[in-house]
Amino acid sequence: MTARLAWAIAAKDLRVERRSKAALSAALPFATTMLLSFGFALGPGRLLLVQAAPGLLWLAGLLAALDLFSRSYQAEADGGCLEGLLLSPVDRGAIYLGKAAAVAVQVAVLFTLTGALTVALFGLPLGSSPALLAATAVLGITGLAALGSLFGLLTALGRTRQAALPLLILPLATPVLIAAIRACALLSAGSTDQVAGWLGVLAAFDAVLLATGYLVYGHLLED
């Protein structure tokens, strides 16, 4: 039941975003501008660019995603749809998981495009283990989406201003960011020795963030 409802909510959100392109159309130019700016700031030294690229990719992706998180609730805020969700007799956790899944897909699209740009601009090598790289991306994006869906709700409810969203999210996203950057840096350098440890850190944070979101979402949503 929870999975079916979460799927219905995620499918609805993705259909709305596919038609409106409200979130990605704002986030993508922002991430692109950031990466270009970093590239010019660091200069033409190839070694420095390659070393900095994993960090720049995740930082640009996260900062661009902050806007996407609040925009993911725009359709709910317009026309009182959020109240419609509130008044439906469904598992609040299912609403959260559905919203988080839709945000995760959007963030994945954002990271795919910015990742491709990073490879092209900075010459970031993808390493020899695409499966581990994909696992890093999936776990990192899941953690960010889990946070973003939870705190994006607060801006939609008007309990916090959109400007305060980074203050709430960035401290909690830092462990996810560090683990994802370290795993990516190791993989792009061709090493897989310590990657499993960082993936474990990511998985642990994801589990904690998703469980917290699932449990507290209903309390935030209620009056």
């Binding site: 079916r4 219905a8 609805k12 109240e83 008044l87 209620e222 009056d223």
Partner: protein
């Protein structure tokens, strides 16, 4: 899921038997107050509505009609006071209430980037309804030809019709309508009247907040709100036809309205 109400018993209540017993009460509020920033939107409201009854909430702007409906819908929690809706506690059993209540408020709660049919199908997913009911609901509200059009292209009246289609599709035990006639043309107003008639026929309970008088015979009684308080419940005896143009408190002085004796809802 929804229990069947007992219209005949309810009608007997309206005929003048003493206040509702717990099993008869669709809505029972006791001294409910809701504060916003320390100011009361409704204040110490006590209200009983029996199952199968249609009650018209009247009052000037800011009198607390919408807040009262939203409290009953469980969109807002009472700051003080207690109450039950369809036998369930207003605060502790909100999900059980929500499964049996449809609230149509000022906002239509529609996704502009989804089509009319997609919006209704999403409602089906949320409430576990059969999506095959969607074409019928669209046809009932005259929107069958635009079912595949995005709601963002709809006028306010069409959105209101679609919200009415959602309400009709849900067939809830308690229907809460907040200014349902606002912005509707003559045909669409007939849809609201049909919804009220159908609810009455099926023994559903309706709370209707409106500045306009519903058509003749559609409501059982009116409750007047002023400054967040119930000022005088009135019982319909020989109600005039639709839309008395005088202010509602003037209407209360008309001999067509008979004050309810002490102790009655």
């Amino acid at each position: 899921m929804a229990h069947q109400p007992e219209p005949a018993r309810s009608r007997a209540h309206r005929a003048g038997t003493p206040g509702p017993e717990p099993s008869d009460a669709a809505v029972s509020l006791r001294d409910v107050t809701r504060l916003f920033d320390g100011l009361p939107a409704i204040s110490a409201v006590s209200l009983d509505v029996v199952v199968g009854e249609t009650v018209w909430l009247r009052g000037p702007n800011g009198s607390g009609k919408s807040t009262l409906l939203r409290v009953v819908a469980t969109a807002l929690s009472p700051t003080f006071g207690t109450g039950t809706v369809l036998g369930d506690d207003l605060v502790r059993a909100r999900d059980r209430i929500r499964a049996r209540v449809e609230y149509l408020g000022h906002q239509t709660r529609l996704y502009a980037d989804l089509t009319a049919a997609e919006n209704l199908r999403f409602t089906c997913a949320l409430y576990g309804l059969d999506p095959r009911a969607v074409p019928g609901a669209l046809a009932m509200t005259g929107l069958d030809a635009v079912g595949d059009v995005r709601v963002g292209a709809f006028s306010q009246g069409m959105r209101q019709r679609l919200a009415l289609a959602r309400a009709a599709m849900r067939d809830a035990d308690l229907l809460l309508l907040d200014e349902p006639y606002a912005g509707l043309d003559v045909d669409a107003r007939a849809i609201v009247d049909d919804l009220l008639t159908r609810a009455r026929t099926l023994g559903r309970t309706v709370l209707l907040a409106s500045h306009e008088a519903p058509a003749d015979g559609l409501v059982d009684r009116a409750v007047e709100l002023d400054a967040g308080r119930v000022v005088l419940p009135v019982r319909e005896r020989n109600r005039p036809r639709r839309a008395p143009r005088e202010p509602v408190r003037e209407a209360l002085r008309e001999p067509a309205w008979e004050p309810v004796p002490e102790g009655l809802p």
